[in-house]
Point group: C2
């Protein structure tokens, strides 16, 4: 595996592969890789000729009060994991090269970025759209692989790629869960043992909603109310939002009709976690 | 020459040329071509293997009070002109294909878009950056050719291309002028004979400023004052702004030091015209 830090060098590597007629699979990450990331890398390797993983904790998607500085980082561990999987390139750019002092340009989605996660994190998706556009321009992939865990991010980036006519196929891979159901997240490392247990309230709420729909429940408000009371039964949990939403435009739905997504964000202590399921 | 209306077809044409190892030169236009545009097409043809010209009056760069509806259009004339030059593809997309009803995504530059032209036209550069990003993603050129006439546009797009790491080289071509000095513009067609004569006050001011600098004048305020009084001497003219600015960040300069740009916008009757010169 090659480690590339320089932006131009990464661009040249990709251009050279494309000239050879090779397809490029790309997995953008913020590092501190878990099994969810690794499943994306495996997908990239199996669906394209060569694979590139980027590791960049993107400052523009964190608000000043968020965890940019303490976001977990472990470059050597990530590098070893990716080497074991046979990944071709680890792209590890410098913050100042990605955002020089005179940086000016942002990619924004208007309405979709203001809903759900956007209410708590108003500048988050602007940062995500900007860095993912930059990374796509640098890596020039044929396919980009992302996890369904960040479902609003997936929907917004899909819209952005369509809107800007970016010639990249976005491939969404399923959520990878711990054996007890907790969705994998780099932020799970923040949880103490008691919080780790309480965090199961997220997946349990998601599974409850799925079950209610399977049993024929059609009223979104009924499902939300039952999820809410499950979350309220956990003393360490504080609900941020529950979304039953249209997958294309993220608008809330009132009557259950597939396809739709059920997503939620819950604080466990001070740690904010998310989870979701798509009902097809 | 092929005329392509469909976005996917354009993308496929470009991908096929790139697979053949051909370089693509691109000229984005809003149609109603004049000699300025044609000089860009000639540059594209001489510097790349194949050339693509887009013709699209971009609604997102016009404010509601501006001239989107009455902007001059003449597809057949443009097509004939481009055929004569041996241009390879004329890309002529549909407004609804470029901006479907659920369109969400915009590319913005923060500070540079608020200066000079941005004061009079606050949403203009957002529309320009967005459509040019889209066109670059569709046409996938190696080089994009633009005229120095829209100097702030050139500076902002150069910044955007660097910031977003877009693998396209922006090539700025000189202003083409009528025999009496008026900078070529599709909007010149709006001028009646009297206004056409009055419009010379733009190029005359620019030439005056150049002359003053050649004579050793170092004080930006002195140059601005002399340009201003020349413009005020023309009854049909109303000054919008005079900018003596740094070419990289568009900030005003107070002491003349090359490289810098001198730009101005003047209303002739209700028609707003621009002109500029770069002092190297």
């Amino acid at each position: 595996m090659i480690v590339i830090k320089d932006i131009q060098e990464m661009q040249q590597w990709s251009t050279a592969r494309k000239k050879e007629g090779k397809t490029i699979g790309f997995v953008p990450t913020m590092g501190y890789l878990h099994s969810g990331h690794l499943s994306l890398v495996k997908a990239a390797r199996s669906k394209s000729d060569v694979s590139v993983v980027s590791s960049f904790v993107n400052p523009t998607q964190f608000a000043p009060n968020e965890d940019y500085d303490r976001y977990p980082r472990d470059f050597d561990r990530d590098k070893n994991l990716l080497e074991t999987l046979g990944n071709d390139v680890l792209f590890f750019p410098d913050r100042n090269a990605m955002y020089p002092l005179d940086y000016e340009t942002f990619v924004v989605t208007e309405k979709m970025a203001t809903l759900w996660e956007g209410k708590t994190r108003p500048t988050h998706f602007r940062g995500v759209c900007t860095v993912v556009t930059k990374l796509m321009m640098i890596v020039q992939p044929d396919k980009m692989h992302m996890g369904q865990k960040d479902i609003q991010q997936c929907a917004i980036l899909r819209r952005m790629i369509i809107d800007l006519n970016i010639p990249v196929e976005l491939v969404i891979e399923p959520i990878i869960r711990e054996i007890d159901g907790l969705a994998m997240s780099s932020r799970n490392v923040y949880l103490n043992p008691e919080e780790r247990k309480a965090a199961l309230v997220l997946s349990h709420s998601i599974f409850l909603a799925e079950q209610l729909i399977q049993q024929g429940e059609k009223d979104a408000q009924v499902i939300i109310a039952k999820m809410k009371s499950l979350i309220e039964s956990e003393p360490l949990a504080r609900l941020d939002y529950i979304a039953l939403m249209n997958m294309d435009n993220l608008e809330p739905v009132s009557v259950i009709k597939s396809p739709l997504a059920i997503a939620l964000a819950v604080y466990i202590g001070i740690i904010r976690l998310i989870d979701n399921v798509i009902i097809r």
